[in-house]
């Protein structure tokens, strides 16, 4: 069949169109990440050092867990400004409970269990309040989580007066937080397990499609029998629990509970990570694998800037530009695809 037939497929005419289609197929982020790593590996000998790579992954893993929680909330069409404050809350509440139980002479195992339960519980309560206000009272997620952010960081500061909480059991700090498992920092291992759990939940349980349905089209979801309120609350609680776990991981690593952990900065970074990873701010879309990649991407960029001694203030500017550019490209790509 060597007869030349006019194709009935709409052929992309220009190189730029073909490029856009290719990018749309794989996604821009993995391509950018590969290019970035390649350039860094060629130009900066220290970049590929084992210590440096582990450092990047450890930074990325903390961000990835918080951002994956943020993703759950973004998927249902919400927002969570309180994640940074929840990190601080779980750290201070968890450490206070742990140190208190340990000081009363109970076994370290009991102290660690009580502390973790207290930290997770405090975080989950914030998530529950967020979820109920959004789902039942129908308050704008932005305002609810702005309020709970203020309240949660107030409680964290009130509890500690801004002073780090020491006296954590040794097993929690050196046995867990600073431990090395399989040659990797424990926080990295735990984070990968958590991200894996979210991925399994998204792909193999009802939660994935249900959350997407709530965020994608509320009316349709309701009509087709999705428990809209329940899933919305679940997304906020899930987000807060992931943030609390991050708080406990950080507490174990630094060996004290601190109200200065997390903060608005972490919230903003988590939103930036999710957005760069293609999680839609209009809800209904987002994959945890991409969020993990987004976190690695940001960590690599920040590491590269540190290695090449870019001023930390200029780094903020770069992060801002990347954030806007990522969303602008995404929007332009969508418009392009519609046209093609």
């Amino acid at each position: 069949m060597s007869v030349h037939l006019p194709s009935h497929h709409p052929q992309p005419q220009q190189f730029s169109d073909r490029l856009m289609l290719a990018v749309a197929g794989i996604g821009l982020l993995p391509l950018l990440l590969v290019a970035l790593v390649a350039v860094l590996a060629l130009t900066e000998p220290r970049f590929l050092g084992a210590v440096n790579l582990l450092n990047i992954l450890r930074t990325a893993s903390v961000l990835a867990v918080v951002a994956s929680g943020q993703m759950l909330v973004l998927i249902v069409g919400g927002f969570d400004l309180s994640v940074g404050a929840v990190v601080a809350l779980s750290s201070t509440v968890g450490a206070t409970a742990m140190a208190g139980v340990a000081a009363s002479g109970a076994s370290p195992a009991l102290a660690v269990t009580a502390g973790c339960a207290a930290g997770l519980g405090a975080g989950a309560v914030v998530g529950l309040v967020n979820g109920l206000c959004v789902a039942v009272l129908k308050v704008s997620p932005f305002m609810v989580t702005l309020g709970t952010m203020s309240a949660a960081s107030g409680v964290a500061l009130l509890l500690t007066n801004g002073i780090p909480v020491y006296g954590l059991p040794d097993g929690f700090v050196s046995g867990f937080g600073r431990a090395v498992w399989l040659g990797l920092p424990s926080a990295l291992v735990v984070s990968v397990v958590l991200l894996g759990a979210v991925a399994v939940m998204q792909r193999h349980t009802l939660a994935g499609p249900a959350l997407r349905a709530v965020g994608g089209n509320l009316q349709a979801a309701r009509v087709s029998g999705v428990a809209v309120r329940g899933w919305t609350v679940a997304a906020y609680v899930g987000c807060a629990v992931l943030a609390s776990l991050t708080g406990l991981l950080l507490t174990a690593r630094i060996g004290s509970g601190q109200a200065s952990l997390g903060g608005l900065n972490m919230t903003m970074e988590s939103i930036a990570t999710a957005v760069i990873a293609g999680v839609s701010l209009r809800g209904g879309a987002g994959r945890v694998e991409m969020v993990a990649l987004g976190a690695v991407f940001l960590a690599v960029i920040s590491n590269a800037m540190n290695l090449s001694r870019v001023d930390s203030k200029a780094q903020l500017v770069v992060l801002g530009v990347i954030l806007i550019a990522a969303v602008a490209l995404d929007e332009l790509g969508k418009r392009r695809r519609v046209r093609v």
Partner: protein
């Protein structure tokens, strides 16, 4: 305007003054000084800064937008204006402030309107850029030596006994009220926020309106930054810390809708006075600063929940 005449339209205008009165009465029961003329004047003067920032935020909220960068833009403007004022005099300081603020607003508006980037992300990016800018320019330290002329004009001066900040806030309030209700641009803001597609069909130049809204917002924030710079007599890189969230909280407490197209100048001003009076009252009654954060958080959530409840009836 028309919905202000119906009873339902009146409720938001009555609820907040009532809440303000109850709150003041409560504080005065605990601490009699809080109702003294001196303190009330003090609250009014303190409010004037937040009023200007809340008006700025309101302009953007009306278009169903957001400006997370107002606080950090204020920091950057404060530092840049102080640097210019120290070297070239107060006039240059104000000029630099307005130019920089206008530039920030134009970029925000262009990114939102032309690139169609979500306002939250666009202004979050700008927040980072402004943070980097202000700390680079200042090196993290306050810029001191602002000329006295600037301080007199924007802070310590008075006309007929009315302090300059109050006067400026009043002028901004009046000006914005006229702009919103008597000009095509003002009506376009409401239409764009209420229903962008319908506005487009009705011949509103939506993109231009959005660019104008973000620019006006940044210009007002720039003016606020100059006022705060004059108050401390220095350019402060840490000026804007909580201003963004406070301005959004004040506007929403004042009945400006986050869903766009609803709310006005009166509510915004009352919201700003309410937030300032709350913090002033808690200071006087010696409420712990951390508890104050919790109270503000609860008030914000309650205000929005009430607003939502009103809306659903």
């Amino acid at each position: 305007m028309s919905d202000q005449l119906s009873l339902r339209g009146m409720i938001p205008h009555l609820a907040l003054p009532l809440a303000l009165a109850v709150m003041l009465a409560g504080f005065s029961a605990v601490e009699p000084r809080s109702l003294s003329a001196g303190n009330l004047l003090n609250v009014l003067e303190q409010s004037s800064y937040l009023i200007v920032f809340t008006l700025a935020q309101t302009v953007v909220l009306l278009t169903r937008g957001f400006d997370l960068s107002v606080g950090m833009a204020a920091s950057a403007v404060s530092v840049a204006a102080a640097l210019a004022a120290v070297s070239f005099g107060g006039g240059a300081g104000v000029a630099v402030a307005l130019l920089l603020a206008g530039g920030i607003g134009l970029v925000n508006g262009a990114v939102v309107a032309l690139l169609r980037v979500n306002p939250f992300v666009a202004t979050l990016g700008m927040l980072n850029i402004c943070l980097g800018l202000s700390s680079t320019l200042s090196g993290g330290r306050p810029v001191t030596g602002v000329p006295d002329g600037l301080t007199t004009l924007f802070y310590s001066g008075a006309v007929l006994g009315v302090p300059a900040p109050v006067l400026i806030a009043a002028l901004c309030t009046g000006g914005l009220a006229l702009l919103l209700h008597r000009t095509v641009f003002g009506r376009s803001l409401y239409l764009t926020g209420g229903n962008p597609r319908a506005a487009e069909v009705a011949g509103v130049r939506v993109r231009l309106t959005l660019i104008g809204a973000y620019t006006l917002c940044a210009l007002l924030a720039g003016l606020g930054a100059v006022m705060l710079t004059a108050r401390t007599g220095s350019g402060e890189p840490s000026l804007g810390g909580s201003l963004t969230l406070e301005s959004i909280a004040a506007a929403v407490i004042g009945g400006v809708s986050l869903r766009g197209g609803a709310g006005g100048v009166t509510g915004a001003v009352l919201g700003a006075v309410f937030v300032t009076a709350l913090s002033n009252g808690m200071n006087l009654t010696r409420v712990d600063g951390n508890v104050q954060m919790i109270v503000l958080g609860v008030v914000v959530v309650a205000a929005v929940a009430l607003d939502r409840f009103r809306g659903s009836r």
